[in-house]
């Protein structure tokens, strides 16, 4: 498994918090590192940024490369329970345990301080990791996250494929569902969404459901609908600084 990592100047002299970035469908560890332009803000706030890949690669599982929204590049940050995926496709555990262990063992990190954010499928991953592990992440944010996968085509396909047909099992990886059982623990969520995002209008992202759930559960979310932006990395690059600051506020508190 490859990952991209950015070490700020501060890491040369001391331990730094780690901010995990989860990329979207079809992405590798390279996309964010290459395109997001987060480095200046991360350097300024002294954050190590780790960008893992979006799925195992080259597992030689039949059908893994058949479609762009399932299998390779589409791990969906779940631990698969169905064959043939359940051996390799354990992205949830990878992000939650294996990767941090590896990072903390090899880089000057402060293991107590970590946050998570992501884009699209990665946004979904960030939200569920934060919501399923209260207190583990100091903060969470997302760009155009898939907020309610059990309700959208992408989610139904992936979750069905990795977890089987029992929809109730899916809810364990659905942010909007997870909010409903989230304990009274502080979590400040920032979400940016391009208003001209074709996947928003296609009903793949469903942020309103998530917001409604958060409103009901009194989970603080600032959701910014950015006029004129789509689903691309230009959108991410525009608002990446706000997100870095959002995390820095909690990681450096």
């Amino acid at each position: 498994m490859k990952f991209g990592i950015y070490l700020p100047p501060k890491a040369e002299t001391g331990k730094c918090p780690v901010l995990y970035w989860l990329s979207g469908l079809t992405c590798t560890e390279q996309n964010f590192i290459t395109k997001a332009g987060f480095h200046q803000a991360a350097a300024e706030h002294g954050l190590i940024v780790v960008a893992p890949d979006t799925s195992p690669r080259g597992c030689n599982i039949e059908g893994e490369d058949e479609s762009w929204d399932f299998g390779t590049g589409a791990g969906f940050y779940v631990d698969a329970t169905e064959d043939p995926w359940k051996t390799n496709y354990r992205m949830y555990s990878y992000i939650k345990d294996e990767l941090p262990k590896l990072i903390n063992a090899n880089f000057p990190t402060d293991p107590e301080r970590m946050s998570i954010f992501g884009h699209s499928m990665g946004g979904h991953g960030a939200l569920i990791l934060a919501l399923k592990n209260p207190g583990k992440y100091k903060s969470v944010s997302a760009f155009a996250p898939i907020c309610n996968p059990i309700q959208c085509e992408w989610g139904k396909k992936a979750l069905g494929g990795y977890l089987g047909s029992d929809v109730s099992k899916w809810e364990a990886y659905d942010a909007t569902q997870l909010v409903k059982s989230y304990p009274n623990s502080h979590l400040d969520i920032l979400i940016d969404q391009g208003k001209d995002d074709q996947f928003l209008s296609a009903g793949q992202l469903l942020p309103d459901n998530f917001i409604a759930a958060c409103t009901e559960q009194k989970i603080p979310v600032v959701f910014r609908l950015q006029q004129g932006y789509d689903h691309s990395y230009f959108f991410i690059a525009t608002f990446i600084n706000d997100h870095i600051k959002h995390h820095a506020k909690y990681l450096n508190a």
Binding site: H45, P220, A248
Partner: protein
């Protein structure tokens, strides 16, 4: 002197006489340069004196040692003498000159030394040279040419030699002379250095002279002053004498008249008495004689009876007459009565001449700074004469513009000293004072009236208008006096735990207005007092105010409040009960919002960060943010480019939050309706941020370079209340983003 004037003549004629114009002009030596000034100067007086200086050198070397000034004065006296001799017999001079020139070799040498001057002379009269050639030609060409050769060689050697100065003889010499001449054993110096030192010496003397001039000038002006003073003083005394002696003479004359009159009267009385006595004596004698005659006649009577008859009558008559005592006492004495003449009046008059008249008028000093309090003044005056003064009479009254109050009580005090402290006055009030000096002889005229002013009364700090932040405070106050004060002083003391508030840690002086921005340290408590100052002094301290530099503190500007907006008693809760007033026509002030039910706060105009919070009910619709002071009052906050607002409205489906500037808002959804909104105004980072203060959630930030200082603004869109909280330390979680 005689030898000098003689030689003067001798050279002068050399110009006029063609025979002597062959006299070799020698190139100017440095010495002649030094004398050039005098040379030129003398030119004005005719050629005669032109050479006056040379003989002086030739004949009397001692003269040179005299000071320049003396030399000059000697010359100027000569000038006079010489000009008188100008009409001298030329012929005689020529003869003398010829004799001297022809005979005396040494003299010739000396003359050569002075060639420089001669050259100048010659150059001024070029025709003399041509004439010289002609006349010489007739006399003998050889001698002429020989002469000029000699002159040439001599001139050359002179040029070389004039480089040493003999300090002993005080004259320039040729180096040759040092070796062999009379200067052999003398101390010599190089001419340039000698010139330098001589110049230096002259310069020193000049300086001394200048000093002396300054001194003497000073002294002269001092003398002038004394002169005037003496004139004045003596003139005054003369007048004084005149008046007093006239008085005394008058009194004496009067006394004389009185005495004379009394004497005459006495004389008359005495004479009258004596005369009366004399008359009565005469009468007595007559009676006696008559009786004697009658008695003698009786003796001659032969008739006995007749005799007896007559004798009885006669005896009775005689008895009766002799019974009367004859008064032989002088009724009056010839000498006049001793009179006691009363000179006491004259004596007094005479004495008063010596005890000086009534004193001169004193002069009141202008008011000295810091001599007044709000209710007292210290007045000083002086007497610029030696008059004897027993005490002073000080009068004062308040200066008033109103005519009618001219009769305001004038106060009069008797004071021994030349100062007085007057109490029980009104603050910041002008009083005019005048003073007279008194002694036994009387009272002086009053001094000029001088106005003193009492110190102001302490100002009143406008508690409700105090604004502060972490690093500064803006304090306003008002003067309680009608008259303006000169300036104000702010005294601030930092309050420590020991509560030692009396130590003034800082004073800010010379504040012209009733407002000051004070730089302070964060998270401290300060006690601030104001004093008002005028010429007279400073007032007592104002009532102190306490300022805490924790967070930003501001107050609401009631003038800007919309008529339907009420400010509750705490001053920080604003309420709106109804959106429209049925009775309409509420008072609208010039500065108040007319459409938006809003109000502005008065934020301290100070850079840095300012934080405040607004407590709202979940269902209250409001606009809160910042605005320029001059934001349009007829528009809605956030609808223009002079205000930045967070707006909350309730739509059928949800709480809607807008972040408005110029009527534009981003599309932002907030899952938890904030009930305590934190607003952070950060001038340094050009940012205005809104937070859900309860959960430290950042909601939105405007990025704007505020062109001017802004003020907090608050508005209600539906009936409800907003509670504003100030003086809150900036929470750390506002630092990012």
């Amino acid at each position: 002197m005689s030898s000098r004037s003689g030689s003067t003549r001798e050279y002068e004629t050399s110009d006029r006489s063609p025979g002597l114009s062959a006299f070799p002009p020698v190139p100017e030596s440095s010495e002649s340069e030094a004398e050039g000034l005098i040379f030129y100067h003398m030119d004005l007086y005719g050629s005669k004196e032109r050479f006056d200086i040379f003989p002086k050198e030739l004949t009397g070397q001692e003269d040179r040692s005299r000071g320049d000034t003396r030399k000059e004065s000697a010359l100027s006296s000569e000038k006079f003498q010489c000009s008188q001799e100008a009409e001298y017999d030329l012929e005689k001079e020529v003869a003398e000159l010829a004799k001297m020139y022809g005979l005396d070799e040494d003299r010739e040498k000396e003359l050569e030394l002075l060639g420089g001057h001669l050259e100048m002379v010659e150059s001024r009269w070029p025709p003399a040279r041509t004439e010289k050639a002609g006349s010489q030609g007739s006399g003998g060409g050889l001698s002429s040419s020989g002469m000029s050769d000699e002159w040439n060689s001599q001139a050359a050697s002179e040029e070389e030699a004039a480089d040493v100065f003999c300090s002993t003889c005080k004259m320039p010499i040729r180096a040759f002379d040092k070796l062999f001449g009379e200067h052999k054993d003398h101390e010599v110096a190089q001419l340039p250095s000698a010139v330098e030192s001589e110049k230096e010496e002259i310069h020193k003397n000049m300086c001394k002279l200048e000093e002396q001039i300054a001194q003497v000038e000073n002294f002269a002006s001092h003398l002038e002053e004394i002169f005037i003073t003496v004139e004045e003083n003596f003139g005054r005394q003369e007048q004084n004498f005149e008046v007093h002696y006239n008085d005394a003479v008058q009194v004496l004359a009067q006394k004389y008249e009185e005495q004379l009159e009394a004497l005459g009267e006495e004389k008359r009385q005495k004479l009258e008495a004596l005369y009366g006595q004399l008359v009565s004596c005469g009468e007595h004698l007559d009676t006696c004689k008559e009786l004697t005659d009658a008695t003698q006649e009786l003796y001659l009577e032969n008739d006995k009876a007749n005799f007896m008859k007559a004798a009885v009558t006669m005896v009775d008559r005689l008895e009766e007459f002799l019974k009367k005592e004859v008064d032989l006492e002088l009724s009056t004495l010839p000498d006049f009565e001793e009179r006691v003449i009363d000179f006491s009046e004259v004596e007094q008059l005479m004495n008063s001449i010596n005890t000086i008249p009534a004193p001169c008028a004193p002069v009141i000093n202008p008011q000295a700074p810091n001599t007044a309090t709000g209710t007292s003044l210290r007045v000083c005056w002086g007497l610029f004469s030696d008059d004897t003064v027993e005490c002073y009479q000080l009068c004062y009254k308040p200066v008033s513009n109103e005519r009618s109050s001219d009769e305001q009580a004038e106060h009069t005090l008797k004071v021994k000293e030349t100062y007085c402290t007057i109490t029980n006055l009104f603050p910041n009030t002008q009083y005019e004072f005048w003073v007279s000096a008194l002694n036994a002889s009387g009272i002086s005229p009053p001094s000029e009236r001088t106005v003193y002013v009492t110190a102001p009364s302490p100002p009143t700090i406008k508690n409700k208008k105090i604004r502060s932040c972490e690093n500064a405070a803006l304090v306003c106050w008002e003067s309680r006096d009608i008259n303006p004060v000169d300036s104000y002083t702010v005294e601030l003391s930092k309050l420590t735990d020991e509560e030692n508030g009396d130590t003034i840690t800082e004073s800010i002086v010379g504040i012209p207005n009733c407002e000051v921005l004070i730089h302070l340290q964060p998270t401290q408590s300060y006690r601030i007092c104001i004093r008002a100052l005028n010429l007279g002094g400073s007032s007592e301290r104002s009532e102190p105010v306490l300022i805490h530099t924790t967070g930003t503190y501001f107050c609401l500007n009631e003038d800007t409040a919309h008529p339907l907006l009420a400010i509750l008693d705490d001053g920080f809760t604003i309420a709106c009960d109804e959106l429209e007033n049925p009775e309409c026509d509420l008072p609208v002030y010039d500065n108040s919002f007319t459409r938006c039910i809003g109000i502005l706060g008065s934020l301290i105009p100070f850079p840095g960060k300012h934080y405040w919070e607004v407590e709202v009910e979940e269902d209250t619709e409001y606009r809160i943010g910042v605005a320029f002071e001059n934001t349009p009052r007829h528009g809605y906050l956030g609808a223009n480019n002079s205000s930045w607002c967070m707006r909350h409205i309730i739509t059928p489906s949800r709480h809607k939050y807008e972040f408005l500037h110029s009527g534009m808002t981003p599309d932002i959804r907030i899952t938890i309706p904030p009930t305590r909104i934190g607003i952070l105004l950060d001038y340094e980072n050009c940012r205005l941020s809104f937070f859900n203060a309860d959960i430290a959630q950042h909601l939105y930030a405007f990025n704007s370079h505020f062109q001017h200082y802004v003020h907090p603004c608050f508005a209600l869109e539906t009936p409800g209340i907003l509670r504003i909280h100030t003086g809150i330390a900036i929470p750390p979680w506002t630092a990012l983003p």
